[in-house]
């Protein structure tokens, strides 16, 4: 994917969360957004995922401009997948029902087709024996992997992941990161917000450092991490990589 953001501004009341953010990536498979809390990463990701509309500015994916009206955004959301920090699975449905819900109600498959479509991914990520359990009966890591699968089974053009491991303990973090890495290997494009810096460095084709509502640094992973010229960026990495 090739992402171009022009003068993106998002205000909530009097707070300017994004301030004339511009960014232009090369042709990448994995774009990782890093930066301090409250810097605007998640706000940016929600706009990219078509969940919120910006106050002003444009977002372009591969020559397609995101339209700000709800109807076209909904059509857009059908073609991409989003994963949240707190999984947001539907607690009243089993893992399997969570997966087939978008297939049946959004993508028009019948139940049998949907069930057979989700079987292979469930097996591949060792979730098959948990498929009939409800989210409350699964661990955080299992929940998050189901949530990622729910976004994946509709075969989206790209995936947006908003701090998918921030609510997990280290062991479960590893299993989720492994899954994301294997998605990358299988050719899925994604935009990821994360605080897992080592993972970011390993998986990212490009990294954008978002702080104070704008892109403070951007480029291939090693360049951004070694960037000591920008004091804001340098201080941040100094703190998180210590």
């Amino acid at each position: 994917m090739r992402l171009t953001i022009k003068d993106l501004t998002q205000t909530f009341g009097t707070t300017r969360v994004l301030d004339n953010l511009s960014l232009e990536t090369g042709s990448v498979h994995a774009l990782v957004l890093v930066g301090p809390s409250g810097g605007g990463k998640s706000t940016l990701l929600r706009i990219l995922a078509g969940l919120d509309t910006p106050t002003s500015g444009t977002v372009t994916f591969d020559d397609t401009v995101l339209q700000p009206d709800e109807a076209s955004l909904r059509l857009y959301r059908r073609t991409v997948g989003t994963v949240f920090q707190s999984y947001n699975l539907f607690p009243h449905l089993s893992a399997r029902e969570n997966l087939i819900l978008p297939l049946v109600h959004v993508h028009g498959l019948n139940r049998e087709e949907a069930i057979s479509r989700v079987e292979e991914p469930l097996r591949r990520f060792h979730l098959y024996e948990h498929a009939s359990k409800r989210p409350a009966e699964l661990s955080g890591g299992q929940n998050q992997r189901i949530a990622i699968l729910r976004a994946m089974v509709v075969k989206p053009k790209r995936l947006f992941l908003d701090e998918p491991t921030s609510a997990l303990d280290p062991e479960m973090t590893a299993e989720v990161l492994d899954m994301i890495e294997s998605l990358k290997e299988s050719g899925t494009d994604f935009v990821l917000v994360t605080h897992a810096m080592n993972f970011a460095r390993r998986v990212a084709d490009e990294i954008a450092f978002i702080g104070d509502g704008t892109a403070l640094a951007h480029g291939p992973a090693n360049i951004v991490f070694e960037d000591t010229e920008n004091s804001r960026v340098a201080t941040f990495f100094d703190q998180v990589l210590r």
Partner: protein, 303 residues
């Protein structure tokens, strides 16, 4: 995985360390647990696997406890009856048993119709209350406040003699059902609104993210979770509705209460006509609460 023949029992641990066994159940056993009150609120941390025999013992002791209390209450009531001066005369009441049966059936029919209608009204008004349009929100709010702020008796009299007359509606059964449903619907609306508000915003986000329309998100994601939350309160309101239907006697609908009063005036055996009346209402409300408890358990998804 739990072994065969073992049932998973969970403990719900409160601050005072009261432990109430929770049964995760299937089939007949589930029904049994319901009747005996073995199944309670969602459990959290502690899990324990116990054998079916122990489980059976727990269930038995509970149903036994219910039995003891029921027998004690009944004997107290019977004793009290013997203290009342004068002779009991059941023959008059027995003679008019048809009237009780007919009245009970009318109450059953009215209540069922009002029950369905009031849930529908409650849901619609709850959506009104949550609407962004201030005009719609105000409509819902005023409806709820007026209905909840006036006695059902007044609503029935005004509804039947003024409003129904004005629009030319003469069937008192229809008017009675409508007024009763409108009355109960106002309470339902507040219950539903509370339930809908209790669903976290992230659920709506998640529904939007997978591309559901607003209506699909409401129907497939929000409503099923809200229903689970409001079931106990709704069940209570429905029980109230059944009992409130006794007020329909003031617009001369020959339901259970009116018929019991008529039998009383024919036979002069006041107490004898009111005992079957109480039993008649219990025969409607008890199955309703049992059903509600059963539904509550089948909708359960522990958090």
């Amino acid at each position: 995985m739990q072994a065969r023949g073992l049932f998973c029992i969970r403990y719900w641990v409160t601050k005072v360390k009261t432990r109430i066994p929770i049964v995760r159940k299937k089939g007949l056993l589930a029904a049994f647990c319901f009747i005996t009150g073995t199944a309670k609120r969602p459990a959290t941390e502690l899990r324990l696997y116990i054998s079916s025999r122990t489980l059976y013992a727990i269930s038995m002791s509970r149903s036994f406890a219910h039995l003891i209390v029921a027998v004690a209450v009944t004997s107290l009531l019977v004793l009290a009856c013997f203290q009342v001066p004068g002779d009991w005369n059941w023959s008059g009441v027995w003679e008019y048993r048809q009237k009780f049966i007919y009245g009970w059936l009318v109450t059953l029919g009215l209540s069922l119709a009002a029950l369905v209608l009031s849930v529908a009204i409650g849901l619609v008004i709850a959506l009104f209350l949550g609407a962004r349009n201030p005009l719609i929100e105000a409509t819902g709010r005023i409806y709820v406040e007026i209905i909840r702020g006036t006695p059902l008796l007044v609503q029935l009299l005004l509804g039947f003699y003024v409003i129904a007359n004005a629009v030319g509606l003469e069937n008192r059964f229809v008017v009675g059902t409508l007024v009763l449903a409108a009355f109960s619907g106002a309470y339902m609306a507040e219950i539903f609104r509370g339930g809908l508000n209790a669903i976290p915003k992230t659920q709506r986000d998640s529904a939007r993210a997978i591309g559901l329309t607003q209506w699909q998100s409401f129907r497939l994601v929000i409503l099923p979770q809200a229903v689970r939350l409001v079931l106990p309160a709704i069940a209570g309101q429905l029980v109230s509705l059944i009992k409130d239907s006794s007020l329909l006697s003031v617009i001369a609908i020959s339901e259970l209460t009116l018929n019991a009063r008529e039998v009383n005036s024919f036979t002069y055996s006041t107490l004898e006509s009111y005992v079957p009346l109480a039993i008649g209402y219990l025969m409607l409300t008890l199955p309703l609460s049992a059903t509600a408890r059963w539904l509550e358990a089948s909708f359960r998804y522990e958090r």
